[in-house]
């Protein structure tokens, strides 16, 4: 199961993804990113407590790549554990999505500052 929490600080909207995102729970991640992209231009996805992700979860992130670009929204994923990061790397998705390590780096990236 996955738990999603949100936090808004200044103009940065952060989505906390906690637990496991698989074929049964990816819908919750999808709904939260969909909602966030309607209202916010700067979105960070905190994955420090993301224990597992399957292709269903990866697919959610991939399906927004074009929309983010069209709407000028910056979305940065951060705090992946080694094993979860490896899942993004298997298909090279880490090259297509904005992924970084720390919250500070994520803030700089979401604000458009080169890290």
């Amino acid at each position: 199961m996955v738990e999603i929490k949100n936090h808004l600080e200044n103009d940065i909207f952060t989505i906390f993804v906690i637990g496991e995102v698989d074929a049964s729970s990816s819908i919750y991640l999808d709904e939260s990113i969909s909602e966030a992209t309607k209202k916010h231009k700067k979105i960070m996805v905190n994955c420090q407590q993301l224990e597992y992700i399957s292709s269903a979860g990866l697919g959610v992130f991939m399906s927004y790549i074009n929309d983010l670009e069209d709407k000028g929204i910056s979305l940065v994923i951060y705090g992946l554990s080694d094993k979860v990061k490896h899942v993004f790397q298997i298909l090279g998705l880490d090259q297509l999505l904005k992924i970084t390590v720390s919250e500070d780096e994520a803030k700089r990236m979401v604000n458009g500052i080169q890290v």
Binding site: S24, Y52, S54, A56
Partner: protein, 136 residues
């Protein structure tokens, strides 16, 4: 060592499948990143079968068998009844098409192909067997 697990065709059971696999693989001292990718590959196959072959019907089931043969590797046998899918002939989509079409699905079997060293599908009138092997 051989381990067996029977799973009802409901997406909500995927967590139980992963728990079983994690336990088996951790018992055999496999590195964490490898454990996670093997669990992922089997989860992807089960999710595909549950959703596409069994229409999430909890009255139907899939059988898993894990054979750990150190130092050769680990073999996973996934068996079900019904319409089989020859994964060995699966042609994968391009990532650029997935992005362009805003598709949320389509990457599961790509992951399986990257993670496993051997993929085999056999089918007769009674059952389909999906065999995956990982060298360790």
């Amino acid at each position: 060592m051989e381990y067996k697990y029977k799973v009802s065709c409901s997406k909500s059971k995927l967590g139980d499948v992963r728990e079983f696999l994690n336990k088996v693989l951790n018992e055999n001292a496999i590195p964490e990143v490898t454990v996670n990718s093997l669990v992922l590959a089997v989860d992807e196959i089960c999710a595909n079968l549950i959703i596409h072959s069994h229409n999430c019907n909890p009255d139907e089931h899939i059988d898993l068998r894990v054979k750990v043969e150190k130092p050769n590797g680990i073999t996973f046998f996934i068996t079900d009844k019904g319409e089989g899918f020859n994964i060995a002939n699966y042609e994968e989509p391009l990532l650029s098409d997935i992005v362009r079409q805003k598709r949320k699905g389509g990457m599961g079997l790509m992951l399986v192909k990257r993670i496993m060293d051997e993929i085999e599908f056999t089918s007769d009138r009674k059952k389909n067997v999906y065999r995956f092997h990982k060298n360790i």
